[in-house]
Symmetry: C2
Subunit: 227 residues, 2 copies
């Protein structure tokens, strides 16, 4: 298996978005069910990316979709949050902590292979997140360039083209079987990384039996790929 | 002047392409006038980027234009170079040394502002060059995404859009007045950096009286921008 480059999903795979967003809800005075609100917001955002891909919704970047999804969520729940606090909630997605293995794990993986982000986040958001977490990538590839969201094959193929690779020379690393399935459909290799805390303790375990590799963290991935 | 991000031209501004390419000519057995050949190759490549911008030539990335320009140059001079050596010459542009101030200078500048590459080089070439030189950018923006070359305004505006900035919040740093003029035409700020050795000792001095800042190296730029 001649994997020449690794492409990383970001939210959930590298970053603990749920804790950061729940904390932002609490800072906005919405203390009850902050984690549940974060989950619902995330799900509504994800549903909107599907609307963009189907053509039912015009292109909007992650900030724009987050803003729409938040407005709808708060209206549905009858929760009052002033406009400036809503903007702070949208901005909370620009400053999220990484899982503990990520910063050093990326450095280790970069020693042997090209390492890129491959995210639905727009480039400016990826820049904020990587600066915040001091995460070093060789490249940032965003769905923004393809104007369509993962798991549309065009996003994965954009990364393949920009890195001047064959599809099977690029491996997507993600915690989400749907993302990995999309990557496989585009001809990429896949690595499943288990992030059992993405949706909090006790959430449904995930696995991806079709992945080329399944690991618990980035250090294990580095070992597996160099072995 | 609220400059929020710096965009760097790469060849000549950050990298000493001439020494590396001349050395590659010598390695290919073309020892006479290796520097002059490098200069002529560079000029022919540059002329081809103009043909792409005018629509006279279809899009080709830097490797492809380098290959065409090299074939024509060697034919014009009646110099025989086998195909594998020609590929090594094209590949030499993927491994170029930086000017001495660059690696640490970029680190210093990154502490205060977003720092991106903004280059005619395609993304895969930028990845090779930044890995080779251990240069850290927050982002790589390539003419490849705009499908047109600098100094077309669309290249500069692509960086502006991807970084979610206003044009005057982005400053192009380059050693080439033509590049800086293109950036100003798109509304960017500009910093001229003097690289008197780009074309070898004794070459014509350059300056850009219209630049917002003129400096001798990246450390001086960091001082000027934080002052």
């Amino acid at each position: 298996m001649a994997v020449r480059a690794l492409a990383f999903d970001v939210f959930g795979t590298l970053l603990d978005w749920r804790s950061g967003v729940a904390e932002a809800f609490r800072a906005a005075g919405v203390a009850d069910d902050a984690e549940e609100l974060a989950d619902t917001w995330r799900a509504a955002f994800f549903s909107m990316t599907g609307e963009v891909n189907s053509g039912a919704r015009p292109w909007g970047n992650v900030d724009e979709l987050h803003r729409s999804a938040l407005d709808r969520l708060l209206a549905d729940r009858g929760i009052e949050v002033p406009a400036d606090q809503r903007e702070r909630l949208v901005a909370a997605w620009h400053q999220l902590d990484s899982w503990p293995d990520v910063r050093e794990g990326l450095e280790a993986l970069r020693r042997e292979r090209v390492v890129t982000a491959l995210s639905n986040a727009h480039v400016a958001l990826l820049v904020d997140l990587t600066r915040y977490g001091d995460l070093r990538f060789d490249c940032l590839v965003s769905a923004e360039v393809a104007r369509v969201y993962k798991p549309d094959p065009e996003v994965y193929l954009t990364a393949v083209r920009l890195l001047a690779l064959e599809p099977d020379e690029l491996m997507l690393v993600a915690a989400h079987p749907l993302d990995l399935e999309g990557a496989r459909g585009a001809g990429l290799r896949t690595a499943f990384i288990d992030r059992p805390l993405e949706y909090g303790p006790g959430s449904n375990p995930r696995e991806d039996p079709d992945a080329d590799v399944s690991v618990g963290d980035l250090h294990e991935l580095a070992e597996r790929l160099s072995g």
